[in-house]
């Protein structure tokens, strides 16, 4: 079984589903990156060999630069685990053909095709937090907002994609980054090191990004008992669950706020991880 998404479909050509118009990825890209891409056009001959950016925030890299950044960002992510921008850069520079495979898998599902067509974004402007809070307890939407509150995070400030050349693949990467929180909410994973690594293991088997496997190297930074638990309890769960589940990038989460959480898990083919790294389910507490 292929490590990516449960069944081996291979790379079937959908032809060049290329999008020559610049994509509105700029809505959350920093003005600095916008300046950078404008500035590139005003350049002198020094970097005229560098291709033009294909979307706001795009920073085209030569193969050497890509390798350099891949190595540097991987090292930096290990040294300073708070550098979310380095984890992002590592993911992008090591993605390789993973994004192409994923994009094709997404295209094969009707729900996925809708995602690629509509290109929804997830941030505090696009999400109606109050509406989510008003949903019944056992729904996915309520679980998500409950998780945001419990872990004190916001859906904002995800680093925009910079180093993927094709705009559609860049969107797929951006979607992965933004839906990562939904995976947290689905299982109720907390945001500390151990649950994050367990989730990365799950993502590796479900989606296939090399960075997710590389990030397991950061388990060296865990305390030995935690590291042991990761490898003996959570990684086996992740391997089985991730490969059994359908590719989570094909899920149009924003259409499923009202769906019952347990029913959603059955539909997607996932089950809860071993205890110890998840937040308590509100419904269970309420029924006690």
């Amino acid at each position: 079984m292929s490590p990516a998404c449960g069944s081996c479909r291979g790379i079937r050509g959908w032809g060049k589903v290329s999008n020559n118009t610049t994509v509105a990825l700029g809505s959350s890209s920093s003005p600095g990156s916008l300046f950078y891409s404008i500035n590139r056009k005003l350049h002198s001959a020094h970097s005229s060999t560098r291709p033009q950016p294909s979307y706001p925030g795009h920073i085209p890299l030569t193969p050497f630069e890509n390798t350099f950044l891949a190595a540097g960002s991987a090292l930096m992510s290990l040294i300073d685990t708070r550098r979310a921008d380095m984890v992002a850069a590592c993911g992008e520079t090591t993605a390789g053909s993973t994004l192409v495979k994923l994009r094709d898998i997404v295209l094969e599902s009707p729900e996925g095709r809708r995602i690629l067509k509509e290109r929804p974004r997830i941030n505090s402007q696009t999400l109606d937090m109050e509406k989510l809070r008003s949903l019944p307890e056992n729904t996915f939407g309520r679980a998500y907002i409950g998780w945001l509150d419990a872990c004190k995070v916001t859906p904002d400030s995800r680093e925009p994609v910079h180093y993927i050349d094709d705009p559609e693949l860049a969107y797929v990467m951006q979607r992965y980054r933004e839906t990562h929180d939904f995976y947290h909410a689905l299982f109720g994973f907390k945001v500390s090191a151990l649950p994050e690594l367990a989730l990365k293991a799950f993502e590796f088997t479900n989606l296939g990004f090399p960075m997710t496997a590389l990030s397991l190297g950061a388990s060296l930074r865990l305390k030995p008992p935690q590291r042991a638990r990761l490898w003996t309890e959570f990684v086996p769960w992740a391997l089985r669950c991730g490969s059994h589940a359908r590719c989570l990038l094909t899920v149009y989460w924003e259409e499923r706020w009202e769906q019952d959480l347990d029913e959603m898990k059955r539909e997607l083919g996932v089950w809860d991880p071993p205890a110890g790294i998840t937040i308590p389910r509100p419904s269970r507490i309420a029924s006690l």
């Binding site: 020094h46 380095m86 649950p195």
Partner: protein
Amino acid sequence: MQQAARSIRVPRKLQRSTCRLFHNSSSLGSSNPSGRTTSFGFKTVPEESKESLVKGVFDSVASKYDLMNDASSLGVHRLWKDSLIDTLKPGRKGPLRCIDVAGGTGDIALRILDHARENYADRETTVEIVDINAQMLKEGFTRFKKTMYHNTPQVSFHEGNAQELPPSQFKDDSYDLYTITFGIRNCTSIPAVLREAYRVLKPGATFACLEFSKVNNPLLSTLYDQYSFTVIPLLGTILAGDRDSYQYLVESIRKFPSQPEFAQMIRDAGFSTGGDFDGGAWTDLWGGIASIHTGVKV
């Protein structure tokens, strides 16, 4: 691993303010009182906005400035600064009153004081560090706290603009040595800086500038360009999380006048320099990657 990153997911405020400044500058083009423009890296901006754009860059890079200097020059910047001090030999002819402009993190000031102390047992030489950017001065102050000069009259820190040093604080004809290291290319008007340098120096005193310059050897120039435009912005991304500031810094090097042009500007301000050749008005370091320009106020 994004566990703690979540709690500080907001991008660094400083970087955002830099980016906002970069973004605003493109809209500032429509409101341009004096009509004069200047370069900001490869971009052209209204003269009035360069100062705040540069401020944004240095606010952003201050905390990692020394680290990035070491990483991007592979430590060579230390050799260049040592070269400058060896050329000047501060303290050889008695204690000096020095002013180190754009001296933020204190690299040169520390070398001046150490050279005078170690070679000439001179504890009377003083250095006044002037910088337009408070963040850089703060880094310098912190560094000096680890040395023996902290809380002595030998070093002092002043926020000020190299183009307009307040005359009440920086009087005419009062300094024996004026240094500006890797700072003058960030100033909006180089002639204004040179005029101020001329004003505050005593007659017979020395002006010294260490700055990135033109590399004449074509092979070295190509390698240097490749390195600058490929590796340095990536190092900025990786080490400091800020590509744009370092992109500006490498671009600003290319916009700086060549050695003979800068030597002429120094003469135009009233200084007397050596001849227009390497070893005269300037000394090239590492093939011209950096260059030390000197002049004497007559």
